[in-house]
Symmetry: D2
């Protein structure tokens, strides 16, 4: 399959550029009978939506999704679900000047190399705008997972530049524009981002996603392991440079007796593995973490070349997120949900009659 | 496709368990005309082979690969290449006692949940034994990439438990059993591993792979990005818990002006991105890093349950690597080579006539 | 991948029901730089469009396609091409009565079995309406194939019920509503269809597609042969019950000396094989033939059961084609073009440097 | 995926040439817990095996299959099943003379065009030898389908050249070398083939496969329909030039009232559709039919060219089937079983909780 599809049985295919008429997604493989309406998708789309706080790009997009097929009388039919989001606020003039230049840290140069030709308006296909459709498709997976197995896929921002969270409360996350679970850090983050914006700078962030109540057995060794496909899905998000499962890089300097999660009839005694053993879900929480790089679209000039290979200086005006991580939480949740959904279906296909007789340990 | 295949155009499918008669691989999609012999594959297989130093499992496997198809008169024909490695040293008795028990940190419990039944001998399919075929298939990709574009895919161990390298010399790597490029650290590593072994403990490691001379343009946005598929391929290796591209998690606390790699007509001024922009190779070195967890097979007893759900104590005798990272370098190289090979072919298919007119910057 | 995608490198994914808001297609994998506008797609859409003659359903659909992405400044960018056709003339009331009944010969019964729930309006996803998007996507493939290799993909109706063609002239095809290349048979066909319609009956048809100037080498043995994928693509069209390549079923009673197409330096002496040997194109014309069954939507009552399993009598009012074969020619052309396009790209990927030194024989 | 794999969830990947060391297959996706031994595969392999009667090639192959993985303690584990058949009777000298010549009607010319280089020994990958692995893999699918749903996949020869069967008895099929269900025609067929062999000629054949007790609901519209994938799988068999489902080409001159299979609470009143409606199994017998062309390997000289493009005369010595259709029945059964198996698994994944409340009609 070409590069714009993800998932083998729950297959999400998307199209659309930052400044084209519309974004599309075809979500193929959703089981029939799931109650679904545009409102179910809109919740997460609104969480991702730009322009909702002063800390994100001021581009104003309604991000209103339309369901064009696959749902009848309020329920999925098992046929592909067609989705459309029209682009409304496209200020293409902002971008015309970069038609011939390559913004450092952006995909302009590589798209030009690959395709010899590119839609430069707002980065075209390489714009984060594309992630809106990931969120819409992910919302379908999230709803199904919750209905079927009470699986909860939830994310939060665990670090913004130098600021790490100390406290944790799921209920705090909706109360601030950062998806930060530590109320005590919000003001610090706001000040930090305000300063960055004045400076014309940007910064990175760390996001963690936790999936609870995941049934054991999901994941297809040896290549399509659950952790491998989570890494694929999360690394495919714009600006992501690293992915961790469970303790991630901390495992390097940890000894085996500490790292191996011991098991008792009452449950596991720890979860260093992040809920995945041998590529298969164990029933414990799935824990995934990503690092997002700082935006490269800056007011501060950067050295580059143009399509003639000449030296130029790039200054990005226009409306940009000083930290793409701020809006990335719903996107990361969506990717985790899409992978879990796909693996839930794959698992069913081959293991319908399996009864391990084992308890489900958390 | 089911879970035991990787790659869309250069497709590697494997089978085989730790203690079954043989491992197989079918490598489908290698272009015709590549000179190939078993010796080309054996070089990397020998680098991965167990029992070559006192620091790895003492299981003795010849790991002799046979080419059973797809090569005629010393050249690939374009038809699938069939590979077989027979298992010779299988001490199944070592494992019989774990038939009913779940080793903590292993896939025993999850395989039992998924399949309701498992080949417990040496971990069956979940054993690291399976990686031999990744190495054999990767060697084909490596050779083709080098012949076609002088692409060099090389890895090394950058950290063993607490020991980080300070110096770097590609030429030192073959001179020690750790794939360590810092001669000054080898003795320290040897002492550390000897101590671990006495202790009955294990430890994690960090491996870095660098691919040089990669042509720009490889990678298929927006899901099948080069970095996303590298993350998938690397995370699919046993014991890997984290993947980084370029600066990876360091990007979180880095500012945009520093992170964005500026461009001059003479080349890029830095490579924080690790040679990938917007999911597409830029022509710079591809830099990928993985974290490997400590082995869970330990002499020191661990708490667990058996298949009846009863409390047991697990002690793993038998022959195990105190640090799986020691032998992981050729495996990581192989996975990177397989992904690059697949994307080289995918890129050609759609961009045959593209001439961006751009210089190739490194 | 789920069932609504076709093609590995030139991948067409569609969604949409007969009476939903719109049909969508995402065409992923079209090389960059192809000049493309909606007009290029509209030509074939208009050839398939219902209501253009008294011999087809009187449903009136503009079938106006919108390109929503993947084309910039009149050229394809290499990014996925998003297409939409809005449904305008949906007389759902015509269908409400069949909500609970299963029309014999239709997919109502099997959809109900599979999904337990269905969009009954006009057959929902199983309606021939879906083929509009095949035609739109196929038009892209056709244009590329012609630009790159002067490949011409052309079809015609070779039999309508009992009426077989005697004469053949490509130029006659656009002059009648049947895609019939034999002007002498058109009046007979018109009378036959008029009589059928009065009778309330329907009839089958045979369509032949010929692709000329196909480069030799297309097709991936041993499963993804060119003929195998043509059979798949053509059999996936509604109402198709048979597929032939070259002489097809005639080969059964033909002797080997007659069937094997002998070769001379000037070219092949015959084309019984239909341009494919060992699953790979030979350079001769690709010849494919399909049989389409008679429509099952009839005014004449048919016995069936309802969703309660009770005996009912089904009478289909509404607007239906007495012969679906009449409009099937552009659909069959589209499917052949999509397969050829996909295999052209697949062939390039692996055989870039191949020079067989052989002449191209026709 | 490259061309040597078939099936999305039940995935069969094969390798091997006519005169290489061995044929391999990796069967990925078989559910765990199926009792399986080499004997289960050998039954069908022996039915296909050459040299069992004077009417087929005298090449003597034991066709002994070895299971190298995926089966433990007599049961499948859910991990990939590795299969190997060693080639024993390879008389490569028979073929050396054709190294530079292209046998008319064979794949020599197209392989040379595609790959620029070929394994000419016995046709290499394009040899019917490859079908042995289809049969071995198909036997696994057949056994699972029968165990799970009492699905019976059975085929027979319905026409040999001009000789059509009149009577039908499943029990007669194993009693003759033709898989002919009409005892009264066997002698005529034997005489016909003897005469052909003397003449140095070959002839085509027609094979029909019937699958009984297929659960309703299998098939994934709109491209991966059950009939479309059957057409793909059957057309991928060497020498197949046509595929029919149900009445196939007869539907062209049949009226709608006759063709649509009416439904009663006791069952369908006919099965013109061949058990598939809208691409989904109805529960009725699946009926598929193929046409196989006459062998092109003949003692009688044929005109061709060599790799220099010069005129040559080709005479094929060596051991060949005068009618490849004679041994094709088990191969056709295998392909149908593989497709049904794949679709059974795909259906489960998405429709686990579906209860249509409908009776299963036959």
């Amino acid at each position: 399959m070409s590069g714009n599809s993800i998932g083998k049985l729950f297959t999400v295919t998307t199209s659309g550029e930052s400044h084209g008429p519309a974004l599309l997604a075809i979500v193929d493989g959703c089981p029939p009978g799931l109650e679904l309406s545009e409102a179910d998708l809109q919740i997460d789309l609104d969480r991702r939506k730009p322009g909702t706080s002063r800390h994100t790009t001021q581009r104003r997009e309604a991000d209103e999704v339309k369901i064009l097929s696959g749902v009848f009388e309020g329920k999925t039919t098992g046929c592909p679900i067609g989705l459309m989001i029209e682009n409304t606020d496209q200020r293409s003039k902002d971008y015309s000047k970069i038609a011939e230049s390559f913004r450092p840290g952006h995909a302009d140069y590589t798209y030009q190399h690959k395709y010899g030709f590119r839609d430069y308006r707002g980065g075209g296909r390489s714009s984060a705008r594309e992630t809106a459709m990931r969120v819409a498709a992910g919302a379908i997976a999230k709803k199904y997972l919750f209905q079927e197995h009470c699986v909860l896929v939830r994310g939060y921002l665990s670090q913004l530049g130098p600021i790490k969270i100390d406290a944790f409360d799921w209920n705090e996350i909706p109360n601030n524009p950062f998806f930060c679970p530590d109320a005590g850090k919000v003001e610090e983050m706001e000040k930090y981002i305000d300063a960055l914006r004045k400076e014309g700078e940007s910064i990175g962030a760390k996001i963690e996603v936790i999936a609870s109540n995941v049934p054991p057995g999901l994941g297809e060794p040896i290549f399509d392991r659950l952790d491998a496909e989570l890494a694929y899905a999360l690394m495919s998000i714009n600006a992501v440079k690293g992915v961790e499962i469970g303790d991630g890089f901390e495992c390097i300097d940890t000894k085996g007796t500490k790292f191996r999660d011991e098991i008792t009839p009452e449950g596991f005694l720890s979860n260093h593995a992040g809920g995945i053993l041998g590529g298969i879900s164990s029933g414990q929480d799935i824990i995934a973490r990503i690092a997002l790089k700082p935006t490269s679209s800056l007011r501060l000039p950067g050295r580059s070349i143009n399509s003639k290979g000449e030296v130029i200086e790039v200054v990005t005006e226009g409306r940009h997120d000083p930290c793409v991580g701020i809006r990335a939480t719903p996107i990361a949740e969506a990717m985790v949900a899409i992978v879990l959904m796909d693996h839930l279906l794959r698992h069913r296909a081959q293991n319908l009659h399996v009864n391990s007789g084992l308890p489900i340990l958390r």
